[in-house]
Structure formats: structure tokens, C-alpha cells
Amino acid sequence: MPFIIRRLVFYLVAAWVALTANFFIPRAMPGNAVQDIMSKFPNLQPSAYKALEAMLGVGHPGSIWHQYWSYLDDVFHFNFGTDVTEYPARVSTLLFETIPWTLTLVGSATIIAFVLGTGLGIVAGWRHGGWLDRVLPGLMFFQAIPYFFLALILLEVLAISLHIFPLGQGYAGGLVPGWHWAFIGSAIYHSLLPAFTIVITSVAGWMLQMRNVMITTIGEDYVLAGQAKGLPNHRVVFTYAARNALLPQLQGFGLALGFVVSGAIVMEIVFSYPGIGLLLLNAVTSNDFPLMQAIFLVITFTVLLANLIVDLVIVFVDPRARTREAAR
């Protein structure tokens, strides 16, 4: 089977596992989630009560298989039910409002961090023992800091004390979201500090990994052969060493994405950024189980999709991936 089809099957299996876990978790947990919700939101209609029971599997809404199939059917139609906090609103509407914020911010910050970290890693690995290589242990500190804590510090220094950046939110109050410059400018301005937080905390990880693979790759005979042929250094660095060292880096990218997303969720809470992380916090604090479940699915599927894209890039970069037999 070609590499990419294997991967596609794998992601389908992963998506199915996530869907199934999402279905069974509310049914396996002790306690009565519907009762919790109803006691918290006394203004809910009886129809909402029925819908919640069906969704969370409380009471006797038919056989488990029947429930499972109708659940899958709902998910495929983006029907995540009605939200209980903002009662008549549909969960899918809330999701569509928040996803673009998170996707733009976290997506671009992650790509910037990856490109920057990989580039610095190439230099640090090539000039092994140079100054860049020596500041690396210092950068590890930033890697170990929880995202949200660095966000708190930056907020304190840059926003509260120095007033360089806004205190949070996605855009200045009073602006109407839309495609006009005042809004876009304000949105970009508000995203700078959160993006910077993501970049600074994740760049060290990429750099360290790239450096380590670079150093190992530079020791390979074909790099020496390239140098012996008298090739210019930039050719040896980028075409011989870095291109090969990039492969483990790319494979790591997919797996690290989960961590980046997890960190970004919590970071959004600090900045009150109107993305999916803040929505998740609100869902958690108000026991809004339908929303929590939908957010879990959306984040998981986005990460799976990003992984698939990374795999396509790997096929493009690495000719072996096109022919490789066992690619686990």
C-alpha cells in the first residue's frame, strides 16, 4: 500500500477512536450529568432535557447501538445539539464563531515557531559549539515554562506595566467584526502578544531537535563526501545535511502539534482570546457537557488533518516515503 493511503487509513482509525471515546465517556462516568446541568440551568425547556438525555445516554433512550448510530449521524451533520449556557444557541454556531480565531493565531504562530526553530537548529548544529549552541540550555528554560505562565508574565510586563500591548481580548471593544481595516488591524495588534508567547515557548524544542539530528547527520559519510568534492558550504548545509535532518523534524511536527494545541488552549484563557480554548474553559466551569464534547472532537479532527498535511509534505520531501514498505 502506498505510504499516503496507509496514513489515511491510520487517521481514519484515530478519528473513529476519538469519536467512540467521545460517545462512551459520558456513559461510563459515575454521576448524573443531566441532573447536574438541569440543577444549574433551571430555565431549560423539557425538550432540552430530552435531547440531553439522548446525547449523554441517561435514562433509556433506546439500545446502545441505536444511540451510537444516531450519534455518528449527528456528528456527520455537524449537529452537536443545543448549548445549555447560551440556551437557544446551537453548539455548532458557537464553534464556527470561535474556530477562525484559534486557527489563525495558533496555526500561524506554530508555523513561525517551526520555521524559526528549524532554521536556528540548522545553524546551531552546523556551528556545533558556537554561541548559538551555547545559549541553548537557556532556551530550555522557556521550553519548560508552562505557556500560560509565560503569558501571565508577558501580560504583566508588556501590557499592564508598559502599556505596549492590549490586556487581552481578540479586538478593541466597540469595533464590529468584519472585513474592514480598523477591525483587521486591531485583531492583528491583539494577536501579537499571544502569538509571541507561543513562538517563544515552542521554538526551543524545534531548535534542540533539529540541532541534534543535524549533528548526527553531519557525521554521515555523504556529507563528508559532499565537502570533499569541494561543494560550496551552503549546498552542503542545506541540500546534503539539512534536507535529511528535516525528516525526523517533520515527523515530530505532527506529534508535537497536540502539545502545541493543548498549550494554546490554556494560553487563550490568560489573554481572554475569543478562541476555542476560552470557549472550552467556559464549558468546563459551567458543566456545559455538549459543548465540551464538541470542542474535543473539533480539536482532535483539526490535529488529525494537520498531521495528514504534514504527511503529504513528507512524501514531497522524502522520495523514500513514496516507496517505503513498512512505514510505522
Partner: protein, 360 residues
């Protein structure tokens, strides 16, 4: 031309008598720094709760004691309700490290069981177990953790430990499976099989002792994951908010607006503690990596001859006369190791031949 041969990286290392001190000295600097830093926190976790100056939960009703900046009576100041931050920190380090170590031990045990059995059973079961660990690697952990803990009626320490352990094994399992597959085909395993040893004996006495370093690295990584995840979960509010861990400290600091009140002494200590414990673990892991792969070691481990830096793995350098370069080519060339040699070595012909020495 004088070439000073480096006698030894550190003369004291030769005269040191006890053997284990010599071994300690030869550890990569990063591993040493990580061990020392971690040791400080482990010590704080062990004796900390016994020496807390105040009860961390005691809310001092006197309004004069609210939000005190660090002073002699309260070394790290007080919170809004007059609780002593230092006492909270000492108890919090204990609780967080305790959780992380338990999760690390349970999850690592799980990953050894899964990894070794996948490699040994082979065939269908290998496929199933590998697929399971790959699937759980690719599903983002934090949202799933939030979902699981969100449904639990009691969100105490035990619940967090169970949930984190259940989701913490896949990475280790994958690495250990690969290593077991590699060891399984070695001659000494075949030999013990020929002598009629049972499989479980081969696994416990032949395979696992050969994977100790890998298991240790996996343990350190899992502890790191557990600290990060538990602190993040508590920060969101998914924890027992009446207990004091580093995460719940941050939760209260955030929810009671420590930042807006300018009370840096309230949120900085727990955050810094998490960051420093994390740094210690990363340093330890990188140091262990370097122990296994000497190529990764930093420049201090590399011989310096006549001011030039040479690595043991380098080929014998052959110098050439520097040709004039363009600006961009010159910049790119400055990345190369050869440019380092040219800077100093162009003056004399025999300067190019140097043997990296001093590595023991």
C-alpha cells in the same frame, strides 16, 4: 609555532581519589545541572511541609495582612485573603511532585508492559498494540483529559493521577517496543532461549536490564508531562481546589486577579517552580542523551588546540588557501567549521594537522 597540548580537561579530575566522584565529574554538564536543580526541589518536597511557617489554608482575617509584599514575617508575601505564599509553595511542590512521580511510575510501567509485549507477541497483537499507542499519541491529550475530568464528580488528586496515567503511556511504549525488537534478535537472547529459559525470565532478566536507560528517559519524560498537564488542568479549575498544588495556587492567583492587583509574589513563585522543575528534567534528559551519544555533547567536551575547536569525530582537517568570496557566499561560509580553521590556521602550514586529544 607553539601547539599546547591539552593535558586534561580538568587537572583535579585526575587527582580525585574516590571513583564515583570521578564518574560524577565526567557526566555532561547539563546532566549535573539538572540533577542539582531537581535535588533542591525534591528536598523541598520532602522537608517542605514540615517546616512551613504557617498553615497554607489559614485565612488571616486582619485586613492589614491581605496582599502583603514579601517581608520578614512572610518571606513570599501573602495572598488576598492573608494566606502565606511560602507555606502554600512548600506544600504545593510536595503535592505536585508526588503526583508527577506516581504518574511517571504507573505510566512507565504500563509502557514497558505494552512495549515489551507488543515486541514479543508479534503479529496481530503487535499490530493492535502499536496502532493503539500511535492513535493515542496523535489524539491531543489535554482536551481528552479535560473531557474525562469534566465528567468526574470528584476531581481530586487520585482522579487526576488515574486519568494522567491512563493517557501517559503511548510514547514510552513506542520507544520501548522499538528497542525490544532490536534486542530480541541479539545473540545472547538466542543463547538463553537455547538453554531453555522461559520467556518471562528472558524478559525480566535479559531484556529489561538492557533497556534501563531508555526506561529512565521515558520516566523523566512522563514526569515532565504529568507536571505540565496537572498544572494546566488545575489552572483551568479541574482539580481539588481546596488542596494546595502549584496548579491550584496559579488558579487562585488568576481567578482573584493577582496580576491586575500587581501581586507578582503571588503568581510568580508557583510558576517559576514549575518552570525550574521542568528545566531540571529537560536538562537531565538531554544530559542522559549526551551520555549515550557523545556527538551531541557541547563544546566544552571538545579539544581546543591552539585556540581552535576540534571535535573527536572530525576528520583530520586539511586547510586550503582561502579564495575570495562574495558577500553572501562569505556569510554562508562563515557557518562552516572550515572557516573556523581558516581564521587561525592560515598563518602556518603545519597548524592544520592537529590531533584532538584529551578525551578520556
Amino acid at each position: 609555532m607553539t601547539v599546547t597540548l591539552p593535558v586534561s580537561a580538568d587537572p583535579a579530575a585526575l587527582t580525585e581519589t574516590p571513583k564515583d566522584i570521578g564518574r560524577w565529574r565526567r557526566l555532561p554538564t547539563k546532566a549535573k545541572a539538572g540533577t542539582v536543580l531537581l535535588g533542591v526541589f525534591v528536598l523541598a518536597a520532602i522537608i517542605g511541609p514540615q517546616v512551613t511557617p504557617y498553615d497554607p489554608s489559614y485565612q488571616n482575617p486582619s485586613p492589614g495582612l491581605s496582599l502583603l509584599a514579601p517581608n520578614a514575617a512572610h518571606l513570599l508575601g501573602t495572598t488576598q485573603s492573608g494566606q502565606d505564599v511560602l507555606s502554600q509553595l512548600l506544600v504545593g511542590i510536595r503535592l505536585t511532585l508526588e503526583l508527577a512521580v506516581i504518574v511517571g511510575a504507573v505510566a512507565t510501567a504500563l509502557s514497558v508492559i505494552v512495549g515489551v509485549s507488543a515486541a514479543f507477541l508479534g503479529g496481530f497483537w503487535d499490530d493492535v498494540l502499536s496502532l493503539a499507542s500511535n492513535v493515542f499519541l496523535v489524539i491531543p491529550a489535554l482536551p481528552l483529559l479535560i473531557l474525562l475530568l469534566g465528567y468526574l464528580p470528584q476531581k481530586g488528586q487520585t482522579a487526576t493521577i488515574i486519568v494522567l496515567s491512563v493517557l501517559g503511556w503511548p510514547w514510552g511504549a513506542r520507544v520501548i517496543r522499538a528497542q525490544t525488537l532490536a534486542i530480541r534478535n541479539r545473540d545472547f537472547i538466542a543463547a538463553s532461549r537455547e538453554t531453555g529459559e522461559r520467556t518471562w525470565r528472558i524478559i525480566t532478566f535479559e531484556i529489561i536490564p538492557n533497556e534501563v536507560s531508555l526506561i529512565a528517559a521515558s520516566f523523566v519524560n512522563t514526569v515532565l508531562y504529568a507536571i505540565g498537564a496537572s498544572v494546566a488542568l488545575a489552572f483551568i479549575g479541574l482539580a481539588d481546589l481546596n488542596s494546595w498544588s502549584l496548579g491550584t495556587m496559579l488558579y487562585w492567583a488568576q481567578s482573584q486577579q493577582a496580576l491586575q492587583l500587581g501581586a507578582w509574589w503571588w503568581f510568580a513563585p508557583p510558576g517559576l517552580a514549575v518552570a525550574l522543575i521542568g528545566t531540571a528534567l529537560v536538562l537531565l534528559n538531554t544530559g542522559m542523551d549526551e551520555l549515550g551519544n557523545p556527538r551531541l555533547r557541547d563544546a566544552s567536551k571538545v579539544a581546543k588546540i591552539g585556540g581552535r575547536r576540534l571535535h573527536p569525530a572530525d576528520p583530520t582537517p586539511v586547510l586550503q588557501a582561502a579564495a575570495p568570496r562574495g558577500a553572501l557566499a562569505g556569510f554562508l561560509h562563515s557557518f562552516s567549521r572550515r572557516s573556523l580553521l581558516e581564521e587561525r590556521g592560515a598563518s602556518g602550514p603545519q597548524a592544520g594537522i592537529a590531533q584532538p586529544g584529551g578525551e578520556r
